[in-house]
């Protein structure tokens, strides 16, 4: 992997470490007394901080995961070259679309 991909993967790893901790912490805190889907949506709806947080989370994951997946595929299969890089861009796009769509849906719902 190129040095810039390396920087991107390690940089997003730092964001992910914080985001995963906040994400899990919030879940544990929020469900202490039991929680319904309606109550969750009541809090996330129109909450811009929620949208920005998960937007950043999704973008970081969409950058981080395909870079790592590319390394694994190069080591465990004979897949190389532009088709692999193109497929990884596809994985990034898929994660981005699915993730942002989910975050937006909960924000708008």
């Amino acid at each position: 992997m190129s040095p810039l991909l390396y920087v991107a993967q390690r940089g997003t790893a730092v964001i992910l470490a914080v985001a995963v901790a906040v994400h899990l912490g919030t879940i544990l805190y929020a469900v202490r007394g039991g929680l319904t889907a309606g109550e969750i949506l009541g809090r996330t709806q129109g909450n811009l901080a929620f949208l920005v947080f998960y937007g950043v989370f999704v973008v970081a994951a969409a950058i981080h995961a395909p870079i790592g997946l590319r390394s694994i595929l190069r080591e465990w299969t004979s897949w190389r070259g532009r088709s692999l890089d193109g497929a990884m861009l596809g994985v990034a796009a898929l994660l981005l679309v699915l993730g942002l769509r989910a975050a937006l849906a909960v924000y708008v719902a």
């Binding site: 992997m1 190129s2 040095p3 810039l4 991909l5 390396y6 920087v7 190069r74 080591e75 465990w76």
Partner: protein, 261 residues
């Protein structure tokens, strides 16, 4: 994919063998193994065993050594599945139930029996710009390098490499990705990156980057665990990752954020 390297057996190397103790030695020869039996001796090394077999039992056995004292780096083999320098490895420290299994070094093409072709190893040394680059106009005077400067210390940490290939055989990334330059070549490059006299740094940083370069290292630490000179290629490679990242960010920054005059 090669199997992971098994854990080392722990035997006390100071224990003297019984007078009539024998050692069963399985040696890989081509596709199969051949078994030999040799007497246990006090302070016996793996290289002693191989030499005894070759001189007393089978002169066709091929292996390689030169210095016998841990300097030349030519005697490395797989001993019970682990890469080791055989001239400085005592039988008593590594024999498992009075047995030894000897194989040629992993990750390199076999020439015959226990002798491997080291050419890919040295080609990668060259590909990683592992030679000092004085530049077109070397300075007239000696460079002054303070012995306790961080750069000189980083050089010292990695300079004692004897090119034995043990780390290269220990590295799973080399096994998975045959292009990977490997711990020894990258360790060497790191000593030169820290050589303030060297004039070829930009090209070297480029040469150690990419899918064959330092970014492919997963920090498994096998190289550092096995290096008989107790060097730490893993940390040298981490240094290269930082240096290449810094230089790539600088180039990226000047390309995209600074207006060229």
């Amino acid at each position: 994919m090669n199997a992971p390297i098994p854990a080392a057996a722990l035997t006390d190397p100071t224990v003297e063998p019984a007078p009539d103790a024998m050692l069963t030695v399985r040696i890989r020869r081509g596709d199969g193994f051949q078994a030999f039996t040799v007497a246990r001796r006090s302070a016996q090394t793996i290289l002693d065993v191989v030499t005894e077999i070759q001189r007393e039992q089978d002169p066709t056995l091929a292996y390689r050594f030169a210095c016998r004292v841990g300097m030349c780096g030519s005697c490395a083999m797989m001993v019970n599945g682990r890469p080791r320098w055989t001239c400085r490895t005592r039988v008593a420290a590594v024999a498992e139930e009075d047995g030894l299994t000897l194989e040629p070094l992993r990750n390199l093409p076999v020439v015959k029996d226990l002798a491997v072709d080291m050419e890919p190893f040295f080609e990668k040394w060259t590909a990683a710009h592992g030679a000092f680059e004085p530049g077109d106009a070397p300075p007239e005077d000696f460079a002054v390098v303070a012995p306790d400067s961080p750069e000189r210390r980083a050089v010292d940490a990695g300079i004692e490499c004897i090119n034995c290939g043990v780390c290269y055989a220990a590295c799973d990334v080399v096994a998975w990705n045959p292009d990977y330059l490997g711990p020894a070549a990258l360790n060497r490059a790191w000593t030169l990156v820290n050589d303030v006299r060297d004039q070829g740094q930009a090209a070297r940083l480029k040469a150690v980057s990419g899918d064959a370069g330092c970014q492919s290292c997963h920090t498994h630490m096998s190289c550092t665990e096995h290096c008989p000179k107790a060097l730490a290629p893993t940390f040298a490679i981490a240094g290269l990752k930082r240096a290449t990242a810094r230089s790539a960010l600088k180039r990226f920054g000047s390309r995209h954020f600074r207006r060229s005059a």
